[in-house]
Symmetry: C2
Amino acid sequence: MADPSANAAQSYCYQYPHPAVTTDVVLFTIHEDSLQLLLIERGNKPFKGSWALPGGFLNIDEDLDACAARELAEETGVAPPYLEQLGAFGKPGRDPRERVISVAYLALAPETALAVRAGDDAAAAAWFSVKALPALAFDHAEIIALAHRRLIGKLDNSTIAFQLLPETFTLGELQRVYETLVDAEIDKRNFRKWAQALEQIEATGELRRRGNHRPARVYRLTDRDRITRFK
Amino acid sequence: MADPSANAAQSYCYQYPHPAVTTDVVLFTIHEDSLQLLLIERGNKPFKGSWALPGGFLNIDEDLDACAARELAEETGVAPPYLEQLGAFGKPGRDPRERVISVAYLALAPETALAVRAGDDAAAAAWFSVKALPALAFDHAEIIALAHRRLIGKLDNSTIAFQLLPETFTLGELQRVYETLVDAEIDKRNFRKWAQALEQIEATGELRRRGNHRPARVYRLTDRDRITRFK
DNA sequence: TTAAGTTAGTGTCGAATTTACACTAATGCA
DNA sequence: TGCATTAGTGTAAATTCGACACTAACTTAA
């Protein structure tokens, strides 16, 4: 992350001051039946030592989506399969260095796709339960709250939650994802009826043996990587 | 609207180039049973003479929402009661002058609140039916498409459409708004049942006499200016 | 003054959807 | 071999949704 205002080199000039533009990513995953999100410990001022969303400054010829993906990869090594823009956050003063407009993203990834490592100017990268977040830098608590609301809001009229599962999964796994997200138990038979009525999943024909119980049928999305909106 | 890259004056400098940030507003209203939106005819390059969303550059100490409201007021004289952020549009090349990130807004206003006049660098301001839009500058067709989808998407789980009506209204007027938005006829008795089950409107006790027919009860929102989300 | 035209306002019944609910099946482990 | 664990399945009641037709109150014109 650069700190332009502190640097004397002056390569680009405008008649009117332009704000800096950054992207920040709220990456959710589900780990041990808990909805978690990825934060980095800031290695630089401001807010050095406190936790923040992965993100950083937009390159001048870079698409916003690409910036979000790049910064996430640089700082955490993660390339999530789902990335959706949340909106722009630009309250004056949200960054003490200079005026910064941040375009926030919501990202989802299955636990299996994650090999997190701290990179660049992040001192550390770590997962936190949404129920036990540390003190956050900037207005990132607000961004996270919006991301969480957006995720929950899309649950029952889209297949967005499938992005939290790997390519193949069992109906039990799918149900546990939904139960974690809505933080409540769901009736098994009704859930399975609902999931199959979507016509978005198909059995692979395989069985998955996990644990000392009957093996489960394995499913995949019929339309891989597509979020379907319905109702 | 300034054109910084064409100007030799150089007052602000950064180590890395910052993009310009603008806001653009998609203001909908309903006029004569047609969903219309406000466009301005551009008086300056680029896209001089073609139509665009009202909007303009963010002041360096200005909140995004305030910028949207200010630019709308400056260019069209309108102060809509509802303004919601849609998202950021920032594809490189969307503005031929320089890199511009536009934060788009969705605004709604009742027809009664509108006294449009062209201002500033807009040659003209005019309403267009969403069904017959002119050729649009920049990526504004894309922004409008998103705004329209967002509005329709929120219809049946929020009271957003009430923002298209003045403070008091009859159930017949409310129904016509919904019929215009979904572009279909709605059963009168079912609609009225639904509207009253929301518990968001209350009768004022007055009657409204309009035309050669029985007068209608007048209603208002119980929670004025609040968009309620349900389901 | 009366008839015609127009929108306001109201309830029921069948269809479709949603919810509650309990047992058998197949595996691993002790 | 029995116990614990998760997989997998259907039905009936309750609720919601959707179709549908008439009377009420006013204005205007004959």
